[in-house]
C-alpha cells in the first residue's frame, strides 16, 4: 500500500490524503462487504449449531482489538491534539468496555443464564448501547475532524485530557450497565433506529467531508456497522446465519482501523528511517564540507603566518638597517674627522707629525671597527635562505649580542653570559633562531628602560636539557609581565608597547614551533621576566668543533669593538 512517498512524520493517517491505491482498497472492501451481505441474506434465518464458546472468544478478540485501537488513537491525540482523534479513541474505548458486561450477561457464554441481567433483553440493550456509542463517536469524529487546532500554554496537558476522557467513558459504560442490569425489560430495546440513524449520518458526514486516509477507512467501518445492524435486526434469532455473519461484520468494524493504524505506523517507521539516513548523509556531507573549509582556513592561516614571518623579517631588517647605519656611521665619523685632521697637519707649514700619526692610527682603528661590524653582519645574513643546518647556538647568540652591544651599553645594561661549556651542535635555521634571540634581547631592553632604581641586569643562558634538548633563556630585571598580558602576549598584533606592532613574540613562537621546540615566558621570582626556548637537537649531520665556553669575563667585551663601556 502506502509507499513511503512522504518522509514527513508530521503527516499521519488523519491528515494524509489517500492515494489511488488506497481508494481502490477501500472500494474493494466496501463492495466485498455488500456482496457478503447479499450472499448470506437469503440464509440469515437458518439456525446453526449453538457454540457457547463463540461469544467469549469473539468478544475477547473485539475487546483486545478495540482497546489497542483506542490506546493508539489516544497516543495519536497526544501528538496531534486533534479533538476528532480523542472522540474516536473514546468510541473505541467505549466499545471495548461495554463488551465486557455484554459477554458476561450473554446466556451460555459463561453460565447458562448469563452472569447478570434477565438473560435475554439485557444483552440486547447492552448490544444496542454499544452500537449507539460507537456510531456517535464516528459521527463526532466526522464533525470535528476539520477543526483547526492550536497548541497554547493554557491548554491542559494531553495526559489530563486523556485521563478525563477515559473516566467519562468508564462512567458512561458503568452507569449504562447498572441501569440495564437492574431494570427488567418486557420488550427488546428500540434503539435500532437511533443507532442506525447515527451510523448512516456518520457515513454521510464522512463521505461528504472525506479527505484523509483515516476518513476513508472509517467509512468502511461505518458501512460494516450498518450492514451488521441490518443483519442483527432482521435475523433476531441467536446462532442463526445472520447472527454469526453480523458478528463477522462486527469483527471487521473493530479490526480495520487497528490494521490500518499498524500498517501506517510501520510505514511511518520506514520513512523515519529513510529520513534518518538522509539526515545522516546530510550531516556527514556537512561535516566533510566543514572539515574541508577548516583545512582551507588552516592553509590560508599558514600562508598568512609565513607572510607575517617574512614581513617581520623585513621589518626586523628595517630596524637592523637603522642600527647598522648608526653602528657604521660612528667609526666613519672618526675616520673622516681623523683624515681631515691628518690632511690639515700635513698641509700646514709646520706639520705636527705626532698629531698626524695619532690621527692616522685612529683612522686605521676606526676603519677596522667598521670592517668588523660589516663582517659580523655578513655572517648574520649570509645564510638568508631558511635552511636547517648544523649550528652552534652559543656562537649564533654571540653574534646577536655583539650586534646589540651598543644598545645594551647605551642603556647601561649589565650583561651576564652563562653559556654551557660543551653545548652540542643543533640542526636549525641559524638566521631564524637569531631573529628569536634578537627579539628576546629587544624585549628585555624595552622592559628595562623604565627601570632606574636598580641595576639593569640581563642574563643570557644556554644549557643542554634531557640530553636531546637545548635551551636558551634571556632573563631581565625589567618591569616583568602583566598577568593580563601573559595570556595574550603570543597573540599576533598584541602589544603593550606604544610603538610595537605586536608580532615579534608570535613570530618567534612560530619559528620555535617550526623547530619542534617550545617558547615560554615566565615571571621571575624577583623583578623582571625570563623568556626561553627549548628545541630538540635534531639530526646532526656533522659535528661542530667544540667551543670554548663563554663566561662573563671573556664574553661580550672580547667580541666587541672598543666603546665607551660604562
Amino acid at each position: 500500500m502506502a509507499a513511503s512517498d512522504s518522509p514527513d512524520p508530521e503527516r499521519w493517517l488523519s491528515n494524509l490524503p489517500p492515494t489511488r491505491v488506497h481508494v481502490r482498497w477501500v472500494l474493494t472492501l466496501a463492495i466485498l462487504q455488500v456482496a457478503a451481505l447479499a450472499i448470506c441474506w437469503p440464509f440469515r434465518e437458518i439456525q446453526l449449531a449453538r457454540i457457547d464458546g463463540f461469544i467469549p472468544v469473539f468478544e475477547g478478540i473485539i475487546f483486545v482489538s478495540d482497546l489497542i485501537t483506542a490506546v493508539l488513537l489516544f497516543s495519536q491525540f497526544a501528538i496531534h491534539r486533534m479533538r476528532a482523534l480523542l472522540i474516536l479513541a473514546c468510541g473505541y474505548l467505549s466499545s471495548a468496555l461495554i463488551i465486557v458486561p455484554h459477554a458476561l450477561a450473554f446466556p451460555g457464554a459463561f453460565v447458562p443464564t448469563g452472569l447478570f441481567g434477565d438473560a435475554f433483553h439485557s444483552t440486547a440493550w447492552l448490544y444496542w448501547f454499544w452500537h449507539l456509542l460507537f456510531p456517535l463517536a464516528l459521527l463526532g469524529y466526522g464533525l470535528t475532524k476539520d477543526e483547526k487546532y492550536e497548541l497554547s500554554s493554557d491548554q491542559p496537558s494531553s495526559f489530563t485530557v486523556i485521563g478525563l476522557s477515559v473516566a467519562v467513558i468508564v462512567g458512561i459504560v458503568c452507569t449504562t450497565t447498572f441501569f440495564v442490569v437492574t431494570t427488567s425489560y418486557s420488550h427488546p430495546p428500540e434503539l435500532f433506529i437511533v443507532s442506525m440513524l447515527a451510523c448512516v449520518s456518520a457515513l454521510a458526514v464522512l463521505w461528504l467531508r472525506r479527505r484523509s486516509l483515516l476518513d476513508h477507512w472509517l467509512m468502511v467501518v461505518a458501512l460494516a456497522a450498518i450492514l451488521e445492524m441490518m443483519l442483527v435486526v432482521l435475523s433476531p434469532n441467536r446462532f442463526s446465519v445472520g447472527f454469526y455473519a453480523g458478528r463477522l461484520f462486527s469483527l471487521l468494524t473493530s479490526t480495520i482501523v487497528l490494521m490500518v493504524l499498524l500498517e501506517e505506523t510501520t510505514r511511518l517507521y520506514a520513512s523515519l528511517r529513510n529520513l534518518n539516513e538522509t539526515l545522516e548523509e546530510r550531516v556527514l556531507a556537512e561535516i566533510r564540507e566543514r572539515l574541508e573549509e577548516r583545512k582551507r582556513a588552516e592553509e590560508a592561516l599558514n600562508a598568512t603566518r609565513s607572510e607575517l614571518a617574512r614581513a617581520t623579517r623585513v621589518m626586523t631588517l628595517g630596524t637592523l638597517a637603522a642600527t647598522i647605519a648608526h653602528e657604521i656611521n660612528q667609526p666613519l665619523t672618526g675616520i673622516i674627522t681623523n683624515a681631515g685632521t691628518c690632511l690639515r697637519m700635513l698641509d700646514s707649514n709646520l706639520p705636527n707629525i705626532d698629531i698626524a700619526r695619532e690621527a692616522t692610527r685612529r683612522t686605521i682603528r676606526d676603519g677596522n671597527r667598521a670592517s668588523e661590524i660589516i663582517a659580523r653582519l655578513r655572517s648574520l645574513f649570509s645564510k638568508e635562505e631558511a635552511e636547517k643546518k648544523s649550528m652552534d647556538l652559543n656562537e649564533a647568540a654571540k653574534e646577536v649580542i655583539a650586534l646589540m652591544m651598543t644598545t645594551l651599553q647605551r642603556y647601561e645594561v649589565v650583561l651576564i653570559l652563562e653559556f654551557a661549556d660543551s653545548l652540542p651542535s643543533i640542526t636549525a635555521d641559524r638566521v631564524q633562531l637569531q631573529q628569536v634571540i634578537l627579539n628576546f634581547l629587544q624585549n628585555a631592553i624595552d622592559a628595562m628602560t623604565t627601570v632606574d632604581e636598580m641595576p639593569r641586569r640581563l642574563i643570557i643562558r644556554t644549557a643542554c636539557v634531557d640530553d636531546d634538548q637545548i635551551r636558551l633563556s634571556v632573563q631581565d630585571s625589567g618591569v616583568g609581565i602583566d598577568p593580563q598580558a601573559m595570556k595574550r602576549m603570543f597573540d599576533p598584533f598584541y602589544t603593550t608597547k606604544s610603538e610595537g606592532m605586536g608580532i615579534g613574540l608570535s613570530v618567534s613562537r612560530s619559528i620555535i614551533e617550526n623547530h619542534h621546540g617550545k617558547l615560554v615566558a615566565t615571571p621571575n621570582n624577583g623583578p623582571g621576566a625570563t623568556f626561553s626556548f627549548t628545541i630538540p637537537r635534531g639530526h646532526v649531520a656533522d659535528t661542530i668543533a667544540p667551543q670554548v665556553g663563554v663566561v662573563q669575563s671573556q664574553g661580550p667585551e672580547k667580541m666587541l669593538p672598543k666603546g665607551n663601556h660604562k
Binding site: 673622516i336 681623523n338 681631515g340 647605551r410
Partner: protein
C-alpha cells in the same frame, strides 16, 4: 677664525671624542670633550664654552634635554647637533629650539667649518 674659541664636545662615542678635538684644534679652536651631558653640566666649563657640539642620543640625559637645561639656565651657547641617526624630525625640533646647526654623521670638515662659523658669528 681670528680668535681661538673654546668648543665643548659632548658625545658618548669614543671615536668622535678622540678625533674631533684634534680637528678643532687644527681649525684653530680650543676643545674639550665630555662623554655625557651630566659630565658637561658638572664640569664648570659651561661659561667658558663658546660653542657646543652635541650628540642627540646618549645614555642618561640626551642632547635635547641638555639643550633645554641650558636654556633654563639662560646659557645662550650656540649648539651644533651631531647624530648618527638620520632623523629629520628630531633635527627640525632641535633647530626649532634654537640649535645653530644639525649635522649627520659622518660629516665632512667643510660642513663642520661652515657650522662653526655660523655658530661663532
Amino acid at each position: 677664525m681670528t680668535q681661538r674659541s673654546f668648543v665643548s664636545v659632548v658625545d658618548d662615542d669614543e671615536s668622535v671624542r678622540e678625533s674631533l678635538p684634534d680637528l678643532l684644534r687644527a681649525l684653530g679652536h680650543d676643545a674639550r670633550t665630555f662623554k655625557s651631558a651630566e659630565d658637561f653640566l658638572v664640569s664648570g666649563q659651561i661659561d667658558n664654552t663658546k660653542c657646543l657640539i652635541l650628540d642627540f642620543s646618549m645614555p642618561g640625559m640626551n642632547g635635547l634635554d641638555l639643550q633645554q637645561e641650558l636654556k633654563k639656565r639662560q646659557k645662550g651657547i650656540p649648539i651644533i647637533f651631531i647624530t648618527a641617526h638620520k632623523d629629520n624630525e628630531i633635527c627640525a625640533k632641535a633647530l626649532d629650539q634654537g640649535a645653530s646647526a644639525c649635522l649627520y654623521k659622518p660629516f665632512s670638515d667643510t660642513e663642520l667649518i661652515e657650522a662653526l662659523s655660523t655658530a661663532l658669528a
